[in-house]
């Protein structure tokens, strides 16, 4: 079975022949973690994309399409605004939705088509979602106010976003069919959703309903990437046509077994409590034991529930990978 076939099997709730995929889903590693590992023996010339196969994990290739041109004005501080109102948004438009940057990424995709067709690795792509993207424009805090202060602007941004993404999707599918995709959102936190169901339905639902059917038509699985406790939001997401979530953050209280029971047909990626990796090998084994029954139900790829934290030594991470593969096999036996 090829790497890609294994992925496909799980995404279709079928059993892979040998084992589940063994991945770190977050292809963007925490920079501090990598720096620490380099001081512990990891060669420093290994790029982010080569890191997973180097460490012994299955490769998967992510394309995150840029929604702002490289020369777009930057926020003055982390999470700060780059536009404040409708006029600001209009002034910013020349820098947004850069079709030419998508074209460049599509060229990169073309170069990988043969290997993807051969089954060497799954390919997935990510787009800035209807919560995330306005947040990058309006700034973390103003964005939360904007549901009340700037509802028309919010709708306008999401209309433009949907148009851009539909254009992008057409280009993607002219080259190949990615195995899954994510809407980057981060719209939940430790105590649940950041916004109400009413706000979700008023603002995000129409946007999702414009973009999602086209993706599903092509057979790419549609997943939402949202940290924190997503439990309460899953029914809202399902209603919007979404087929799965990641990373199912344990520290925020997500109980993947309970979720599986409530949603037998929903895809899950993540759920492995990163905090156990900080504590040691025994805790990690306990964590795999917790996840094993759900791994057996299919439609679930276990993986660290966000980036591996910097205080996990490289040696322990290797042990984690060994265990991940051990349980990935157990899950299909």
């Amino acid at each position: 079975m090829t790497n890609r076939e294994r992925f496909q099997a799980v995404l279709n709730f079928e059993k892979p022949d040998d084992r589940l995929p063994a991945i770190e889903w977050a292809s963007w590693w925490w920079d501090k973690t990598v720096v620490n590992w380099q001081s512990q023996g990891l060669p420093s010339d290994i790029g982010f994309r080569e890191l997973a196969p180097y460490l012994g994990l299955d490769q998967h290739i992510q394309f995150w399409f840029q929604h702002r041109a490289a020369d777009c004005p930057q926020p003055k501080f982390n999470g700060g605004p780059i536009c404040e109102d409708e006029d600001g948004y209009e002034a910013l438009l020349p820098y947004l939705y850069p079709d030419n940057e998508v074209d460049a990424a599509i060229e990169g995709m073309k170069a990988l088509k043969e290997a993807h067709d051969r089954g060497d690795f799954p390919i997935w792509f990510s787009v800035d979602g209807g919560f995330w993207f306005p947040r990058t424009l309006l700034g973390i805090e103003n964005h939360l106010y904007s549901f009340y202060d700037e509802p028309e602007l919010y709708h306008r941004i999401l209309d433009d976003l949907a148009d851009f993404q539909l254009r992008t999707l057409e280009k993607v599918y002219s080259v190949l069919t990615p195995d899954f995709m994510t809407f980057g959102e981060d719209m939940s936190y430790n105590n649940g959703p950041m916004i109400s169901e009413d706000s979700f339905n008023e603002f995000l639902l129409p946007y999702y309903q414009k973009v999602i059917p086209y993706i599903k038509e092509h057979g790419t699985k549609v997943i939402v990437d949202s940290d924190g406790d997503i439990t309460k939001m899953i029914p809202w997401l399902k209603h919007a046509g979404i087929e799965g979530v990641l990373p199912l953050e344990r520290q925020a209280g997500v109980d993947v077994a309970a979720l599986r029971e409530a949603h037998p047909d929903f895809l899950f990626i993540g759920a492995f409590d990163k905090m156990t990796m900080r504590r040691g090998v025994e805790d990690m084994r306990g964590e795999f034991e917790r996840l094993l029954p759900v791994m057996k139900t299919g439609g679930f790829i276990p993986s660290v529930d966000h980036q591996t934290p910097p205080d996990v030594p490289l040696e322990r991470y290797y042990k984690y990978i060994d265990m991940l593969k051990e349980y990935a096999e157990k899950a299909v036996k």
């Binding site: 501090k32 982390n78 939360l144 009340y148 105590n191 950041m194 520290q251 905090m275 910097p310 205080d311």
Partner: protein, 212 residues
């Protein structure tokens, strides 16, 4: 409906302009500034806090309500000062060094203000020394530390240590919170109080200040 109830209800809906007008009207009608504060503004914020705790309202609703409260408080401030009304306590709050997450910290601040506490906001990436220095110079009864990263939560332990070294540990309560923090960690580092959400944090802080 009394004007104070109207203030509370409009505050809960985040109607800052209306709250401002109503507070001015209430002053003109001769209501005591303290009463406008407690039965109007703080009452509204309390209700929002409880609803937030129960996941009946979410972050945007809390933010717009808190903004309405601030607008109302600004109008009321000179009258409160004239009447000699003091804040029920003084708190300094910040996100610890190395950490830039501040939505939670801001909510805690707003909820505490909603309990009538004066809150000094030190912002994000705050060094342990800054918490201690502020607590000493500004006479704070409580230091509040927020951390969202496992890599920065350790700084909270430093704050406790520095408070001991500065000889103020028995005079100041140290409250901690944020996504990776829990009760066990609070005990481990010798802090005084952990709560999982902003409304409970404000309850705990107000209770502490009332007892002292």
């Amino acid at each position: 409906m009394s004007i104070l109830t109207e203030i509370s209800e409009n505050l809960q809906k985040g109607k800052a302009k209306i709250v401002k007008e109503l507070v001015m009207q209430a002053v003109e009608q001769g209501y005591a500034p303290e009463e406008i504060l407690s039965k109007g503004l703080l009452d509204g914020m309390n209700i929002i806090g409880e609803k937030f705790k129960a996941n009946e309202v979410y972050v945007p609703e809390v933010l717009v309500a808190a903004r309405a409260m601030n607008v109302g408080s600004q109008v009321l401030k000179p009258y409160l000062e004239q009447a000699g009304v003091k804040a029920v306590g003084r708190v300094c709050i910040g996100t610890v060094q190395g950490d830039l997450h501040d939505i939670g910290k801001n909510l805690v601040k707003m909820m505490m203000e909603g309990k009538g506490l004066e809150v000094i906001d030190l912002g994000t990436d705050v060094a342990p020394e800054t918490f201690i220095q502020t607590a000493i110079e500004q006479n704070c009864q409580i230091i509040c530390c927020s951390a969202l990263l496992t890599t920065t939560m350790g700084v909270m332990g430093e704050v406790v240590k520095k408070a001991e070294e500065a000889g103020i540990r028995d005079k100041v309560k140290i409250m901690i919170g944020g996504a990776p923090v829990d009760e066990a960690f609070c005990r481990q580092i010798g802090a005084d109080c952990y709560t999982p959400d902003a409304a409970s944090a404000a309850d705990a802080a107000a209770a502490f200040c009332a007892a002292n």
